[in-house]
């Protein structure tokens, strides 16, 4: 599979050079692999740090900026960053009021952030962590590593980021982040696998009429293989899975997210079905995102994330944000 890269080895560094050139509001260390606000930490503000494997762009580096993350640390493709990056990111985010780690629930991310938290705590930084685990395709049981963190990560970063920007304490920002996660569920569908630059071949093969239901964001196959259907049915499958896990009602923030190689026109087709079917289930789409936010390299497919809003969360969602990938109000 052809890719617009210089080499598999340098892709993350090269992309960070591009991010740096494109966004003067970011301070980017392409070799050290950290991205933070160019203004440095905001004194007295709780810092927000996230990170994870690369290949999910714009997550997380694209969400660094006013009203969202203070710093991000991108790992190798699909590989959790190492504690050293997290420590550097923490320093870039620490305004003296403590730092919240937004951690997607994958063993690698969890372990590395744990090690980093220990190191930073030893340095006297107050660290809290929130585990994002919104993917209903994985049964959350003793027999798994727990649900994966996927689309809800964007919601957690935006809403907790707004709380932090508004001056909330570390405990309060953490509570808000946990609440967003608790109120959010996702389900993803792949029409094709993705190909990592290092391997050069798709991680799994799908036939002309096959799809994977319940995929993750690391090229792993899903809960089950199925046959291709129209957008209406795929939306129903995703919403059924979400609804079964978290009964849907009231106002919702809804994201229809592309996996990286899905044209926007198709995402809008899916969103039309999702919105209509949510209305049929008595849910009002109060806020929405349609586009590529949490991707899986060049995977074709989509995920749906639903977050049940209340007034506070809506207000925090609407608060100004200024990052490469999400911007409004300034």
């Amino acid at each position: 599979v052809k890719k617009l890269i210089n080499s598999a080895e340098t892709v993350v560094t090269d992309a960070l050079r591009g991010l740096s050139a494109a966004h003067p509001g970011l301070r980017v260390d392409p070799d050290g692999r950290t991205v933070s606000r160019s203004g440095g930490p905001t004194p007295g503000k709780v810092g927000l740090v996230s990170g994870g494997g690369s290949g999910h762009e714009p997550l997380h580096a694209g969400f660094v900026g006013y009203g969202m993350l203070d710093a991000a640390c991108p790992g190798e493709i699909f590989t959790s960053p190492v504690p050293g990056q997290m420590v550097t990111a923490t320093a870039a985010a620490d305004g003296g009021a403590g730092v919240l780690y937004v951690v997607k629930n994958y063993t690698g991310d969890v372990l590395n952030f744990e090690l980093a938290a220990d190191l930073c705590a030893e340095e006297g930084v107050e660290i809290a962590s929130v585990l994002v685990d919104d993917d209903v395709a994985v049964r959350d049981s003793l027999h798994t590593a727990g649900r994966r963190g996927t689309g809800a990560t964007v919601f957690v970063e935006k809403i907790a980021g707004a709380a932090a920007e508004g001056g909330a304490s570390l405990a309060e920002v953490t509570r808000v982040a946990e609440e967003v996660n608790a109120r959010s569920r996702s389900f993803g569908v792949a029409l094709s696998a993705c190909t990592t630059p290092a391997s050069g071949r798709p991680t799994f093969e799908l036939g002309e009429t096959e799809i994977e239901l319940g995929i993750g964001i690391h090229g792993e196959p899903g809960r089950s293989r199925s046959t291709m259907r129209d957008a209406r049915e795929l939306a129903a499958i995703a919403l059924d899975a979400v609804d079964e896990d978290m009964p849907l009602s009231g106002d919702a923030l809804v994201m229809v997210n592309g996996m990286g190689a899905t044209p926007l026109i198709e995402l809008y087709v899916v969103f039309a079905e999702v919105a209509e079917q949510l209305a049929g289930r008595g849910v009002r789409v109060a806020r929405s995102l349609v586009g590529d936010y949490v991707t899986s390299l060049d995977m074709r497919g989509f995920s749906v994330t639903v977050c049940l809003l209340d007034e506070d969360l809506t207000r925090l969602w609407d608060a100004p944000v200024e990052t490469p990938a999400l911007r409004w109000g300034r």
Binding site: G53, G75, E76, I77, F78, T79, S80, P81, V82, P83, G84, Y106, T107, G108, L111, N112, E114, L115, A137, V138, R139, L142, H143, T144, A145, R148, T196, A198, S199, T203, F204, G216, H218, G219, E220, P221, R223, S224
Partner: protein, 213 residues
Amino acid sequence: MDTAFLTRWIAGIADAVRAERDRLTELDAAIGDADHGANLDRGFGAAVQALADDPPAAPGALLRLVGGTLISRVGGASGPLYGTAFREAGRSLGSSGEASEVSLADLARALRAGLDGVTRLGSAAEGDKTMVDAFAPAVRALETAVSAGAGEREAFEAAASAALAGAEATVPMVARKGRASYLGPRSAGHEDPGAASCALIFAALCTADQGHG
């Protein structure tokens, strides 16, 4: 065994991981995210470099340096896990005034400590389809060999074949830890990449020993 032996061991692991990089990645592609080969190649390559740059004076320090390097360079699940394994093994060999020679019994104790570190951090038990399924039987085999008064070569061969058998035994298992657990029953039928790499680590003990002899 001295630091020369352990340096050979780490170099042997790095060579084996590089040689088997694609196989590890393919195992990980089947039930994970296709990076295990690259992860360990990066990590053990860095460890070899770190030992060359600043050769530690004692076996314990050497293993701790390897562990720290893996933690700071690998990322993913295997970085902290293998990193902790080597770091804890190094710690068990003592942290000050260390001996420059370690016995087979010392090494067995150290690897037991490393295994404990892995299970403490990752809370995987045998049967969960992880590196622990190769690591645990290998450590047991080593301990049995020590009890039986076996020589190094015999002990390492027992450990290596136990690790290999443990790795192969992961094929039919349904994963309960790590990424493969997301697949549920679909994870059966594939060897766990971490168990496969763990078998390489124990096999490299034999190679290091032969280089010694």
